[in-house]
């Protein structure tokens, strides 16, 4: 174990959340829960990034009264990356949900194992 586990509690939480999401995505049989797991996983990564940008005692990166010294603001880069990432995860969620509707229309179940059994039974 390294020295900074307690100082990095935010990152530790995001690591745990990431793994919870990952486990959900792997293990849940229900497709909708898989998608929620995916969203949790993405949020965890964004939390990790946002923690990286945070510096205690500094303000949000919006210039106030023309002060442009480095000491006044937190790091803006992670915020920008997370903004991009959120859009990506919304798009992916919408796509997955529409796939879910289609799949349910066809097989009347949300369980992927069950669907593969149905496919095997149909033979083709």
């Amino acid at each position: 174990m390294g020295p900074n586990l307690l100082a990095n509690y935010g990152e530790a939480v995001s690591a745990i959340l990431f793994c919870i999401g990952f486990t959900n995505l792997l293990l849940q049989t229900n497709l909708i829960k898989k998608i929620i797991g995916l969203n949790i996983m993405d949020s965890a990564i964004y939390l990790f990034l946002a923690e990286k940008g945070y510096i205690a005692g500094r303000a949000a990166p919006i210039v106030v009264d023309g002060v442009t010294s480095v000491e006044a603001y937190i790091n803006p880069i992670p915020s920008g990356l997370v903004l991009t990432g959120i859009v990506v995860s919304v798009s992916v969620t919408a796509l997955m949900l529409s796939l879910t509707i289609r799949l349910y229309l066809r097989y009347h179940t949300l369980d992927l194992d069950e669907i593969s059994m149905q496919l095997k039974r149909e033979g083709k």
Partner: protein, 319 residues
Amino acid sequence: MSRKKSIEEYQKTSAFRFFRWLSGEEDPYIGNVEMCPQEEYQPDQEAALRREKEHDAILDKVYDTTHNKSLYLFHRLYQATSVLFCLFLIALLLVTVSYLPANGTVIRPVNNEVAERYIEKGLEETGAVNIVAGMILDYRAFDTLGESHVLFTATITVLILLRLNKTEKDEAEVNDRRFEPKNDAILQLVATFLVPIIIIFGIYIILNGHLGPGGGFSGGAVIGAGLVLYLNAFGFKKTERFFTEKTYKWVCFFSLSFYCLAKSYSFYTGANQLHSVIPKGTPGAILSSGLILPLNIAVGLVVACTIYAFYAMFRKGGF
């Protein structure tokens, strides 16, 4: 009796009516508001039974340990390895985190010359008061261009999956509204007040993107949410007057083309060391920071339309 009013008089006061309504004796809206009775959701018994039977049969096959031992073993093995893998991942990530540079402090690799320049020169070089907006739409604009195309690609795939043709669409619409009231008076009243406020708030977020928190994407999402509320309150008939597939197509096309062309111009001039003719304006004014405001508007339009399109597509496979 110490009461000043008689019982008949008391019964006319609003306090009496309120308490009666509170105790559930009378609905104060009866006679005042037209309501559609809600139909109970009744699943088709026969179909449900049949499905259940099939389901059971399949489940038997899947989880039948006596006849299908290998499959059962495979499932167990899969689950066990997944759990182990996830525990391993947690441990690995926690160890990693414990070796990372300490959080919240100033001396970290992250706080290097890159962030420094964004903060110190950002206002001067991009003209945006919101440094994040300046960063994503000017310094690192290629990412953002890609991001808006991710959204576009996702819309195309949703269109492929859920778009229906005309007759199917009508049928889907009938099915869609079968289990809910057509004109819910409360919802409509609330929507009349809320929708303009939400949409104005969204427009504010978009236009203010370079001056404060917000920007094209969040503002567009707020407007989209307002449109979805409007659609839910008043139905597709009303929204189709101003928003059809054609509107969506052209709005998306023009916004994305504008985005692409504007950014191409700025990339081209940047790479070839040409002088860009776009003025930066006075920082802090609404018309400032070069391309950021128009780009925010374009992104906002795309996002608002896309969110509405997603919702309409999910509801009835078209709009």
